[in-house]
């Protein structure tokens, strides 16, 4: 399903909002990987005396309820979420695009089987697939990435198939074949330039879904387990201390909001 905000923003406005989204995401990524250099310490080191303490030189973002440095925990949590999202989206894109191309080019029975398969998978809530995989695979992060890839490939598949199916029967491709060009040329010059920009928005949207899912599961206590720093888990841990240390709770909230806003802007007004 592709719904693009048309007419509302000019082409320039859309490009600008996309660029702004990319800048937001890049800022968060930079922060996540630079956090260990910005301040010393590790995300697990407890200092109970400083529990919920205000920022100081050693911990510029303050301390959590166990006296752990918030900047380190936030950085580690963002790295985890971003890595899971990256691997899930990359795997989903590779599978989805390949199968989508295959379905569009071959057609026939293979196409029908793949469509039925993807439509059936679509009927199951993504959360459920991720949860079941997480219960089976011992490594949670791996399980999340695999489960999310299992959910996200469908959109890549549908999009690639729909785009390429029309293109492959178009006069342009027919003309190229008559002129003696092969399949690789058709892919490079006709299919890829049309599919690639769609992949970018789908990837941004998929990454947002992945980050949201991991945090949601952490928040309802079936995701990453303590003491792993994870955004949803951090929020649920810090919630009881809302009155004493509102800033500590707001940090992961703000971080996830920024990253999701950035990704959604990059996805350019897509709804689904």
């Amino acid at each position: 399903m592709k719904l693009v905000t048309e007419g509302l923003l000019s082409e320039r406005g859309r490009r600008r909002s996309r660029r702004f989204g990319a800048v937001l995401v890049l800022t968060v990524v930079l922060f996540a990987w630079l956090a260990p250099w910005l301040a010393p310490g590790d995300p697990f080191g407890q200092a109970l005396l400083k529990a919920l303490g205000p920022p100081d030189a050693a911990a510029p973002f303050g301390y959590d309820h166990l006296g752990r440095s918030m900047i380190q925990r936030l950085g580690a949590a963002l790295r985890l979420s971003l890595l899971i999202a990256f691997f899930a989206v990359a795997a989903a894109a590779i599978f989805g695009v390949t199968l989508g191309l295959l379905a569009a080019a071959r057609g026939g029975r293979l196409d029908r089987v793949l469509v039925l398969l993807s439509d059936s998978l679509l009927a199951l809530p993504g959360l459920l697939l991720v949860l079941i995989l997480a219960a089976v695979v011992p490594d949670k992060a791996l399980a999340f990435a695999a489960g999310l890839a299992l959910v996200l490939w469908i959109e890549f598949f549908r999009l690639t198939r729909a785009t390429c199916r029309g293109l492959l029967t178009s006069p342009g491709v027919q003309a190229s074949r008559l002129l003696g060009f092969g399949s690789i040329y058709v892919f490079r010059r006709h299919l890829w330039p049309e599919v690639a920009p769609l992949l970018l928005t789908t990837a941004a949207f998929g990454a947002a879904t992945a980050i949201m899912t991991v945090a949601s599961l952490g928040f309802v206590s079936v995701g990453m387990q303590a003491p792993t720093p994870e955004l949803g888990l951090m929020m649920v841990e810090l919630m009881p201390y809302w009155r004493e240390a509102p800033l500590a709770l707001l940090q992961p909230v703000f971080a996830i909001f920024l990253v999701l806003l950035g990704l959604n802007l990059m996805a350019g007004g897509r709804t689904i």
Partner: protein, 486 residues
């Protein structure tokens, strides 16, 4: 006679205030059609849109319009709204897309009677039914638009447009994409309105339609009026040079293609060919032989299998019976030119790159490109652009260039000019003739019988049910089957 619409100094401007249409004044009179004739981008549609307040957002009009007792300022399009349907009826360009897909034909006409003219619901339904029956649509009252043919949709839209009681009918390109028979139908429909005392204004690039309608003609070019006058006078003795060229571009004024010298080598031969698409048999038992330099015309109603036949001869679409022999071993010697030029190129690829790719792939002599460009009157700067940034005529010539680089012996031209203006059409067909003169066999599909008659050496008419017939019975000695004519 009293004018029903008097427009004075109607001009159109874009957002930056640049003038797109020089001020034009005109009058509509009952019983006398007014035809605005011009090519794509000439500003002829802007004129009709400015007259009735339907200019696209961002464009502004100037001038005064006196219509049905109201004096209107063309700069205030909102004032026109209350006249729509009541004073002015607008016949839509694409009737099939202009009818609500979820509403039955009769309802779409009846709602104008009820809501615009103010008839009681039951009376509106019965009047709508009578009108549609009078238009020969008795069986289509309860059909939805997708169950109507293009011509039927045109008539439903006609009834719906004027059900509100308007006596001024404005039609913008009413024959777009229609074949000759349906074009005549539309002309008859419009003339009925004129005969009944209505006023009619038609905007078109279709010379045949303009000729059929008669009345007054305004010729527009590049946003300015170049000539106006009585239709017969203009068609018989155009004063303006552009008008002369435009009228001469009508296929009925063309010279016939000189006959092809006999004895040329056979480039393509089909025996007992059967072609079907989607399980429907379109052509059955067709045999033909095409010699070098020959132009074969294919005509028939839309959907009769003209394109499928050509694709089958090219090997793009497998025939269900018979054989096709392409005598020249080099597969790239068999080429095709498409109906919609922009769709025949990769959308995001610069045209120069597409040509360069071809030169590299087929190891061609790249220095041949430039002289060919000159011959086809293509400016070099076009090569830096993408297909969407080039006009249809230029793009079609580029498609020809692409094919010509491969020294084709057979070219299938599938409605190559149906989306082009008359002058561009004449130019492209002229190039096809030149190509044939150099020994390439050309098979041309068109819905315009005049064009086929003057371009092709012989013609196959398909009826879409398997039969392929030839208009003049005089089979060539070398042809197998009666489907071929000289």
């Amino acid at each position: 006679m009293t004018a029903t619409l008097i427009a004075t100094d109607i001009g159109v401007y874009d957002q930056r205030g640049e003038r797109l249409l020089e001020p034009v004044s005109l009058q509509l009179e009952p019983g006398r059609p007014l035809v605005v004739l011009g090519e794509t981008g000439s500003g002829k549609s802007l004129l009709s849109q400015a007259l009735i307040g339907t200019l696209p957002a961002g464009l502004a009009a100037s001038g005064r319009v006196c219509l049905g007792g109201s004096h209107l300022d063309a700069a205030q399009p909102a004032d026109y709204r209350r006249l729509w349907g009541r004073e002015v009826a607008v016949l839509p360009q694409e009737p099939w897309l202009s009818l609500d897909p979820l509403m039955r034909a009769q309802q779409q006409v009846a709602e104008s009677h009820r809501l615009v003219r103010g008839l009681a619901p039951r009376a509106a339904i019965s009047v709508a039914g009578e009108e549609l029956e009078a238009l020969g649509l008795a069986g289509a009252l309860r059909r939805y638009p997708h169950q109507l043919s293009g011509g039927m949709a045109q008539r439903v839209a006609f009834a719906a447009a004027r059900a509100g009681g308007a006596r001024i009918l404005i039609a913008d390109e009413p024959t777009k994409g229609l074949d000759a028979a349906r074009r005549d139908e539309v002309a008859a429909l419009l003339m009925r309105e004129v005969a009944a005392g209505g006023s009619l204004m038609v905007v078109t690039h279709d010379l045949a339609l303009a000729r059929l309608l008669g009345g007054e003609v305004l010729v527009v070019r590049r946003g300015a009026l170049v000539e106006r006058g009585d239709s017969r006078a203009i068609f018989e003795a155009p004063r303006n040079a552009y008008t002369r060229r435009l009228l001469a571009a009508d296929p009925r004024c063309w010279q016939r293609t000189p006959p092809v010298p006999a004895g040329g080598p056979t480039v393509l031969q089909a025996r007992d060919l059967g072609v079907s698409r989607g399980g429907r048999v379109l052509v059955e038992g067709l045999s033909l032989r095409l010699g070098a330099g020959e132009i074969l015309g294919i005509s028939g109603p839309s959907g009769c299998g003209k394109s499928s036949l050509g694709d089958a001869l090219l090997g793009l679409h497998p025939p269900h019976a018979g054989t096709v022999v392409r005598s020249v071993a080099r597969p790239q010697a068999y080429q095709k030119v498409f109906q919609d030029p922009p769709s025949a190129f990769a959308r995001t690829l610069a045209l120069g790159q597409a040509i360069a790719d071809l030169v590299r792939r087929q190891r061609l002599d790249g220095s041949r490109v430039e002289p060919l460009m000159q011959r086809l009157r293509l400016r070099p700067e076009l090569l830096a652009r993408r297909p969407g940034e080039v006009s249809g005529g230029e793009l079609q010539r580029l498609a020809l260039l692409r094919a010509m680089l491969l020294d084709p012996v057979f070219l299938f031209a599938d409605e190559p000019t149906s989306r082009l203006d008359p002058l561009t059409q004449q130019e492209v067909i002229g190039l096809l003739r030149e190509l044939a003169g150099e020994g390439c066999a050309v098979m041309i599909v068109s819905h315009d019988p005049e064009l086929i008659a003057r371009t092709a050496h012989r013609c196959i008419v398909l009826d879409g049910a398997g039969a392929a017939t030839v208009p003049a019975p005089q089979p060539r000695p070398d042809s197998a089957g009666a489907a071929l004519l000289r």
